[in-house]
């Protein structure tokens, strides 16, 4: 990262020529805007980013991009056509505005901006996506660990042509069925932890040798005299071994099917792999919604303000920016008709602002709650550290301050079906801060939100029935209809019977069971 200078807006006087006046822009304007933003993002904010590639697209192309989850080259599937029809209908009836921008975590980082945007909006979008999101993609540990920004475009290209070739060779229908099934299991197609590496022969031998040496070193004849445990050897040793060989339990169902499903053909495995890798690529984005948007929103806010202070954008443009900025970070309260959950932009931006405040002008409370950062004086350094090393859940758990909870007037309601009424568990007061912060953070823990489903056992030499468990947390069961359909897809891929048990993790009681048999569609 580049060196950091404290913000000194007073020393920079206005009076430079504005980058643009009015709404019109051309490529030269875009270039100047980019360069001006770069001049602030680097020296003033200390951001670091992948090289930028800004692509101008039309509204229709934006709809196209929407439909295939924002990726420029994606394989073809009917569900994207369905989403397109939905979005288009919404857009035409005026129910839905289009996003101003879509940004892709790749190197170079591609930002799509719409041609309809005004020059101010283009500035905002460039500051937001090409610097804010871009910095986050490049620096956050989740993205660094799980995504390959350099390779993603090539991989998508490969995936697209591979699936097109399969369609030519095996027919649309066959490919579509595999894709349907794989899409149904997509959210069960991610690794949440790095897998352990399979040891190679050399290290296996070394370990064996070391074990023997160790045994020799600690050899003591006395142990021989101890009485042996009598009774049968543990009977489930075979089952244990079987599970270990199959790496069970396995929560990445697509991975398990790809590696183990007995009847899939190689091209079908490859398609499962493609869907799985795409899911894995997007997994960090789901885990960092608040942070990612918070980082981008805070960056654009700082950049736009700095541009304005330098006189690089006119007052009219600044007002236009403020108007859309406040729209973006609006958080309706729970009783508002437009309330639809927490707005990640609002929470993210508020938290970033709050952290900057704690760093620069802490109160006594802040010093007690955040002794590490309160009053250290360099807000950007702290923020950059947050952006690099946290995800939503840990970030909120660590940095949501009492003041912000008071500002947002957060409260915690528990809905227990056994009780006649809802209960207010905590509010924004001294007793509630920590409890509420914990529950709030949990709501952003993707692993907590996604149903926890694992492949637990299969007897490959017996009836090959695949057994899955859903750990029904707090006794929340799966939605029956959909679960049945997904299980049907799973059974089709597996080729034999499949059973899913709803298990309460604490007691091990089985709350319900769904099963499915394979239809002969793939084989």
């Amino acid at each position: 990262m580049t060196s950091v200078k404290p913000r000194t807006p007073q020393t920079i006087s206005g009076g430079q020529k504005p980058l643009f006046t009015g709404n019109d822009w051309d490529f030269d304007t875009i270039r100047r805007i980019h360069d001006a933003c770069e001049g602030i993002a680097g020296p003033e904010l200390g951001l670091s980013w992948y090289p930028n590639q800004i692509e101008i697209i039309t509204a229709e192309q934006m709809l196209d991009a929407y439909a295939s989850i924002g990726m420029p080259l994606f394989y073809k599937h009917w569900s994207f056509g369905k989403h397109f029809a939905q979005h288009e209908a919404g857009y035409r009836r005026g129910l839905m505005g289009l996003a101003y921008e879509i940004v892709i975590n790749s190197d170079p980082c591609i930002s799509y901006v719409m041609e309809e945007n005004t020059a101010t909006m283009q500035t905002l979008v460039i500051a937001h996506a090409a610097f804010g999101h871009n910095h986050f993609f490049k620096n956050n540990y989740l993205f660094r660990q799980w995504t390959d920004a350099e390779g993603i475009l090539d991989y998508l290209d490969f995936a697209k042509s591979f699936i097109a070739r399969c369609e030519e060779r095996y027919g649309h229908q066959a490919v579509e069925q595999v894709l349907d099934a794989a899409h149904a299991l997509m959210s069960q197609g991610v690794h949440r932890y790095p897998r352990k590496k399979r040891p190679d022969l050399a290290s296996e031998q070394r370990r064996e040798r070391e074990r023997v040496e160790h045994g020799e070193q600690i050899y003591n004849d006395l142990w021989r005299t101890l009485p042996q445990k009598t009774g049968a050897v543990r009977s489930d040793a075979a089952a244990e071994r079987r599970k270990a060989l199959l790496e069970l339990p396995q929560e990445n169902i697509l991975y398990f099917l790809e590696k183990v499903a007995p009847r899939l053909r190689p091209w079908q495995r490859e398609i499962l792999r493609i869907v799985r890798l795409v899911a894995q690529y997007f997994y960090p984005q789901r885990q960092t919604k608040v942070m990612n948007e918070g980082c981008a929103t805070y960056s654009h806010y700082r950049i736009m303000n700095s541009l304005s202070e330098k006189g690089l954008i006119t007052e009219a443009a600044y007002l236009e920016f403020l108007q859309s900025h406040t729209n973006v970070i609006r958080q309706p309260t729970y009783d508002d008709r437009s309330y639809g959950g927490h707005n990640p932009y609002a929470i993210g931006f508020a938290m970033m602002q709050d952290i900057a405040r704690i760093v620069e002008q802490p109160t006594q409370e802040d010093r007690a709650w955040f002794p590490d950062i309160a009053g250290t004086g360099d807000a950007m350094a702290v923020l950059r550290d947050c952006w690099a090393n946290y995800r939503d859940e840990s970030f909120i758990q660590q940095f949501l301050s009492p003041k912000l909870m008071r500002d947002l007037r957060l409260f915690h309601v528990v809905d227990d079906p056994d009780e006649p009424e809802l209960r207010v568990e905590a509010i924004h007061d001294e007793r509630g801060y920590r409890k509420m912060r914990r529950s709030f953070a949990r709501q952003y823990d993707v692993a907590w939100l996604d149903p926890d489903i694992e492949v637990v056992d299969v007897d490959l030499e017996g009836d090959r029935r695949l057994i899955l468990h859903h750990k029904a947390l707090n006794k929340i069961t799966l939605q029956k209809d959909d679960a049945k359909r997904v299980l049907q897809h799973l059974a089709d891929l597996w080729g034999y019977d499949v059973v899913l048990k709803e298990v309460e993790p604490a007691t091990g009681t089985v709350l319900g069971e769904i099963s499915a048999s394979a239809r002969p569609i793939f084989f």
Binding site: G81, L410, P417, V424, T477
Partner: protein, 433 residues
């Protein structure tokens, strides 16, 4: 930093996705489309391509938690009055209440149908799938070409109307530059210089001479020379005919009920939609007849009633006249559809046969005869009654004449009959097999 202008790329990237989507919902969409053909007012057919698909067919299932089961936590913004330990009445409509992001949907209510709009093209594609114009290939080879004119570069001769001004002046300018024709400014400059001189100036004769030289040169080298002229050239080329005329013949005598006319109308409209898909330009000629035939406009054709006997040949004579007058079979693809309840004066049979065989059928691409019947259909128990006209036409068809005939009693039979008449041969063979 790069800026890439993707607008230049053609849009419609998700067109293949849409095609896949339509293929997925094809059965349902096709059913909906044909339903609309049957039930809707046929005038609006294809205009409103709204199709509703049950969500079932395009469902994308995922494992998800059932809302309203188990213990659920909600963190909400904007607390005004609550303190810890308060209880809130459960809002109607299920758990969670304000967590409507997750709460509202789900359950049985979300089984909403998925609605989308087909373009006119897609609608007609589904509507007319597997249909083909009969014997088109054969006819095309023979007569479907005519002469047209198109631009073909420039020529040095031609009529003034075709003068290519830009090209001509470009030639003129290059010639003027090459031959160094004096520019008007140069002449004007010399003139000004001359005007500024007194008679006694020693340089004056030189300037006068130079001016004279320039003027003469300008005269010798004209501004536009015949050699500069260029004309736009046109050349003839064979042009395939893309026009068709559709003859609607109908018996409007008293025996034709409103129901029968409605059946006929539906058939005509299907034919019209079908033809407009194939030909850029389609004209319709309406000929109605009792014992006399007249060419009328659409409204009169379907609307008004006539009384009188029935003489089919009169309509055929009228059609022959119209063809001779306006629709040269060399330029037009001619389709005819006749609707009748089958009555005819028995003495008219041979005349009609002769007219059809000698004049009408050779000129037509296709001649369809639609016998419309009573809504209740042929009464059960009776031996199927063959009408006079049916027998006449059947004889022609048996002799190998290009005539297709079907009987229709009910509205719902129109579309199947239409498909039967125009169905692709192989598709039909498959269906029968």
């Amino acid at each position: 930093m790069h800026i890439v202008d993707r607008r230049l790329n053609p849009g419609g990237k998700s067109l293949p996705n849409r095609q896949r989507f339509l293929r997925r919902v094809k059965d349902v969409a096709q059913r909906a489309v044909r339903e609309s053909a049957r039930e809707k007012d046929i005038k609006d057919l294809g205009k409103d391509g709204r199709v509703t698909v049950p969500a079932d067919g395009v469902r994308e299932p995922r494992f998800s938690r059932q809302p309203g089961t188990g213990l659920q936590d909600h963190i909400l913004p904007g607390n005004k009055t609550y303190v810890e330990g308060d209880t809130i009445e459960r809002p109607p409509g299920g758990g969670g209440g304000r967590g409507s992001g997750e709460g509202g949907e789900g359950g049985e209510n979300s089984e909403d149908a998925f609605r989308f709009v087909l373009t006119r093209e897609e609608f007609l594609e589904l509507f007319l799938e597997d249909l083909e114009l009969p014997d088109l290939a054969k006819r095309r080879l023979a007569v479907v070409e005519t002469e047209g004119l198109r631009r073909a570069g420039y020529t040095v001769t031609g009529s003034p109307a075709n003068l290519a001004l830009t090209r001509t002046l470009r030639n003129s300018m290059s010639r003027r530059i090459a031959l160094k024709r004096p520019k008007p400014e140069e002449v004007a400059a010399l003139e000004a210089q001359l005007a500024g001189m007194r008679d006694s100036d020693p340089g004056r004769p030189d300037v006068e001479r130079a001016l004279l030289k320039l003027r003469e040169r300008a005269k010798r080298i004209p501004y536009v020379d015949p050699i500069d002229l260029r004309f736009r050239r046109f050349e003839p080329y064979p042009r395939p005919i893309a026009q068709a005329v559709m003859f609607c013949l109908m018996d409007v005598s008293g025996s034709m009920t409103e129901h029968m006319k409605d059946l006929a109308k539906r058939f005509y409209i299907l034919l019209h939609i079908f033809l407009t898909r194939r030909y850029r330009h389609v004209e319709i000629v309406f000929i109605r007849h009792t014992d006399r035939a007249t060419e009328v406009d659409e409204e009169t054709f379907f609307g008004s009633r006539e009384t009188g006997g029935t003489l089919v040949s009169s309509a055929l004579v009228e059609m022959k006249r119209v063809i001779a007058e306006r629709y040269d079979p060399n330029d037009w693809n001619i389709y005819a559809a006749q609707a009748s309840d089958g009555d005819n004066v028995s003495s008219d049979g041979p005349t009609s046969t002769e007219l059809l065989r000698a004049h009408i059928l050779p000129a037509c691409q296709h001649f369809a005869y639609l016998e419309v019947g009573d809504e209740n259909g042929p009464r059960a128990g009776f031996v199927e009654h063959r009408t006079t006209l049916w027998r006449t036409y059947e004889a022609i068809a048996k002799a190998g004449g290009p005539i297709a005939m079907r009987k229709v009693n009910h509205r719902r039979e129109i579309y199947p009959v239409f498909r039967e008449l125009f169905g692709r041969k192989d598709a039909r063979a498959e269906a029968e097999a």
